[in-house]
């Protein structure tokens, strides 16, 4: 694009505009190693909302696509610049602007890395629960844009439950503020909610107001070794049905634990059909009580073993291993495609059976591991070797999984979003009328279709 680099260099200083192909190569995809990559024409690294706004104004004028980008840790290809144009890397807008202890709220710029935010508020005795497992790198802006969740979702909900307000730069460069520091509001449509999960297709999020809660003083981790995947799923359903709410409730397949053992210390015996990794939190009394209720309930269902982990370091090693599951899988596989199917939690036993059936019927290896407490156990396509035939079979398997998951009353994406990964299946879940409505909303925000075009719908929302 002629003159692009010069023009952008006048909006931001020249060394915050990247146009060398050697640099652009780093912005061609996210954590989906299996997708096609696309080169942007330029990457900009804004420091301020003002700069974001001026870039958007310029892009509107010249009808150049703009793709916002956080850490590029997404699992749906949502920040891949499929139509080239400008990638807006938000990671330099990384100031924690305010932590209001009396109001239990925080204000941050969109590029703040989640784990840094966690550490900062926790030092003050406050708690921001959402914990997508990529938290060491992912940005709060990316979390809002994907409505990210994590193991703590089972008790505390996901990012969407903590966003109070946003500063948004619209595609034409206009800056608006939705919501605020207050915890409730009924004034017109809820733009904050609409932006949450919008995958960069409606505007650029520059600032975020977040709700905080008090940090629970105690935690305890429990590991349950189950006879089979079905039994693990039944235990999860039972825990939920009985009304005890663990702070985390993760399902792990046998193979997953085998891999995680390179981090779990001391390693866990790999002899069970599936595992549950559970955490309870709260005051000492609450933790002791919940631990007893959950361990008793598990034992009633006669799994192989139920163990409460007393040593804090050992417990931490389990959760660290859990957050590394996806990269760990690559030590064995050539390709790993994480699906995000989520079902009502009482349907988990059926879902686990269904996943195994699809795997058997299509001959595609499908593992499971994830946020069972949320009904989101990430069926994961595992390819020991890649080949065009296996790719084709995998596509059939994915379609089957999603179709059957919808039949169980589920959704095709619990937290990763659609991006380019699942756009062809969106209609199955939403139906044409709802998609048409969404497209009209998209048009209202972005009449020129320059905001992250080519995402969510196959044809890009025109």
């Amino acid at each position: 694009m002629k003159g692009l680099s010069r023009d952008l260099g006048q909006i931001l200083d020249r060394n915050r505009v990247l146009t060398d192909p050697e640099d652009l190569l780093a912005y061609t995809n996210d954590a989906t190693h299996y997708f096609k990559r696309s080169m942007p024409d330029a990457v900009v690294l804004p420091n301020t909302t003002e700069e974001v706004s001026r870039v958007m104004e310029y892009a509107s004028k010249h009808r150049i696509p703009v793709t916002p980008r956080g850490a590029g840790s997404g699992l749906s290809g949502a920040c891949t610049p499929v139509h080239g144009g400008i990638v807006m890397d938000m990671k330099r807008m990384n100031r924690i602007l305010e932590i209001d202890e009396r109001n239990m709220t925080a204000a941050v710029e969109a590029g703040v890395v989640l784990s840094r935010f966690h550490r900062t508020v926790e030092k003050m005795g406050l708690f921001y629960p959402p914990d997508p497992q990529s938290m060491s790198v992912c940005t709060l802006g990316g979390n809002v844009a994907t409505r990210a969740g994590g193991p703590r979702g089972v008790k505390y909900g996901t990012t969407g439950n903590y966003v109070l307000g946003l500063e948004i730069v619209l595609p034409d460069g206009t800056v608006i503020n939705s919501g605020g520091k207050f915890v409730k509001q009924t004034v017109g449509y809820d733009i904050t909610r609409l932006m949450t999960g919008s995958e960069g297709t409606l505007g650029v999020i520059t600032r975020i107001n977040l709700r905080l809660i008090a940090l629970p003083p105690e935690q305890k981790t429990i590991v349950v070794s189950c006879e089979s995947p079905e039994q693990a799923a039944e235990i999860v359903s039972e825990i939920i049905a009985r009304g005890t709410v663990p702070s985390m409730l993760e399902y792990l397949g046998q193979a997953a634990v085998g891999l995680m053992n390179s981090i779990i210390s001391p390693p866990l015996t790999v002899d069970a059909g599936a595992y549950l990794l559970i955490e309870v939190d709260g005051t000492r009394t609450q933790v002791d009580y919940d631990t007893e209720v959950i361990t008793n309930l598990c034992r009633e269902m006669q799994p192989r073993a139920v163990r409460v982990i007393e040593d804090e370091k050992e417990a931490a090693s389990y959760w660290k291993a859990r957050s590394n599951l996806y990269p760990l899988l690559m030590t064995l596989m050539e390709r790993v495609i994480t699906e995000d199917l989520t079902v009502p939690r009482n349907m988990l036993p059926q879902m686990v059976r269904m996943v195994q059936e699809v795997s058997a019927a299509t001959g595609v290896g499908i593992g499971m591991g994830g946020h069972a407490g949320d009904g989101n156990i990430h069926p994961t396509i595992l390819q020991f070797q890649t080949s065009p035939e296996l790719d084709e079979k995998s596509q059939i398997a994915i379609a089957e999984l999603l179709k059957k998951g919808l039949e169980l009353g589920g959704t095709i994406s619990g937290e990763h979003g659609i991006g380019i990964h699942k756009s062809e299946y969106v209609a199955w879940e939403l139906g044409e009328a709802q998609i048409e409505l969404m497209k009209r909303i998209k048009k209202a925000f972005d009449p020129l279709n320059i905001m992250n075009p080519g995402k969510i719908w196959p044809e890009g929302g025109e």
Partner: protein, 400 residues
């Protein structure tokens, strides 16, 4: 072997999770994704393996703007040896005519691979002039290097518990002979017989960082020939980088079927960092009281032993009166990385600034670390704190 083409498959093992962003000191300063391991691997693949883009000055700049600190490799759960791939890329680049500076090559071969005091002094001066640096940032060479001070076999005190060879690295030999003296004394005081082999040269890490494979091979050959012939229970080094070299890198400078491999393996297996060795063996002599507060900086090259990062803490905990105050991030890089700090001065200083702040905030009087380069690079900026090797600290408590 460190042959780039052999890493093509391994590069594809990168899951693209992006977790290396949290670990890379260079990325955390620059905040450019092209400087993080995920992108470096992509770039190396495109420019040097698949050759879909030309090898431009920017490609070289990105490959060279790396500390080889191994933080990415240690973080990577897909187990991609990122630092090794970057090293292999530098070796590949050095094949181009004139790529490795001839003066640097001369220093590698003649100075680090042949330890002669006169040579070091004159050549270090020449390098300093050539890259135009102030004397402030150049380490002061010890008046008498360690290998001129102590040699031969040092008898243990009391009953002999083990016999070890002491591999003396360049940092200790030329900059900090006090560390060498402390290592020998503390080991002997705890019943360890210490043999100091003569003829030892550089471990090869500096040459590899320059992409100078031949110099690395030369030094590995010299060292292995000497070390393989020793009748000892273990080989200890005070330097985490030398240890990493022998544990994980030296076998990779030769092809897998090279006859050298047979000699390398047993040497490699016997390597220990001295603090780690002693923590495993256990102290027989109870240290005396040494009142004071210290903090511990974990050197980056620690991935080769699961216990090397904690060993100093364990040993020094036995000193009555010595109080450890942990800094904010003990494992954060100091920015020095061999000669990286000379060639990327501004960046290295930024990386160091966090470390200095963390150290100062502890209120400790002493900083303990195993790496001589970290020691030098931190000490020149610390007025109120002294930096010592953990065994130097322990020697103090023994009154040695």
């Amino acid at each position: 072997m460190l042959k780039l083409a052999d890493y093509a498959r391994v590069i594809n093992k990168c899951s693209h999770c992006g977790y290396c962003q949290a670990a890379c000191p260079v990325y955390l300063e620059d905040l450019l994704e092209s400087h993080v391991a995920r992108a470096r691997l992509n770039l190396i693949n495109a420019a040097l393996i698949e050759k879909t883009i030309p090898v431009t000055p920017r490609v070289k700049e990105i490959i060279n703007r790396c500390l080889l600190c191994t933080n990415c490799t240690r973080t990577c759960s897909s187990k991609v040896p990122c630092d090794e791939i970057i090293t292999a890329a530098r070796i590949e680049l050095s094949k181009e005519a004139g790529a490795v500076d001839s003066l640097k090559k001369f220093v590698m071969r003649k100075v680090l691979n042949q330890r002669g005091l006169a040579g070091v002094l004159s050549k270090a001066g020449a390098v300093a002039q050539k890259i135009n640096i102030t004397s402030m940032e150049m380490p002061t060479l010890a008046a008498v290097p360690f290998d001129r001070q102590v040699s031969g076999t040092i008898e243990p005190r009391g009953e002999r518990r083990a016999r070890v060879a002491y591999f003396v690295g360049c940092g200790t030999n030329f900059l900090f002979p006090d560390t060498g003296n402390a290592v020998v004394k503390v080991l002997a005081y705890n019943g360890v017989e210490v043999v100091i082999p003569s003829g030892i040269v550089c471990c090869g890490i500096p040459a590899l960082a320059e992409g100078d494979l031949e110099s690395a091979q030369e030094s590995v050959r010299i060292n292995i020939e000497i070390l393989a012939g020793l009748d000892v229970d273990a080989i200890v080094t005070d330097c985490t980088s030398c240890g990493m070299a022998f544990k994980t890198k030296v076998s990779k400078v030769f092809p897998d079927d090279d006859p050298m491999q047979e000699k390398i393996k047993p040497v490699s297996d016997k390597f220990w960092e001295a603090t780690d060795f002693l923590a495993h063996l256990g102290l027989v002599a109870q240290p005396g009281e040494l009142k004071g507060r210290y903090t511990y900086h974990e050197p980056c090259h620690r991935g080769w032993s699961p216990t090397v990062d904690d060993a100093p803490r364990r040993l020094l905990a036995s000193i009555p009166g010595a109080e450890l105050t942990e800094m904010e991030e003990p494992g954060r890089c100091c920015g020095a990385a061999g000669t990286f700090y000379l060639e990327h001065r501004e960046l290295a200083e930024k990386i160091r600034s966090h470390k200095l702040k963390d150290i100062r905030e502890t209120g400790a009087e002493k900083v303990v670390t195993q790496c001589p380069v970290c020691r030098f690079y931190l000490e020149i900026q610390l007025k109120d704190q002294k930096v010592v090797h953990p065994l130097g600290y322990l020697a103090g408590a023994y009154g040695l």
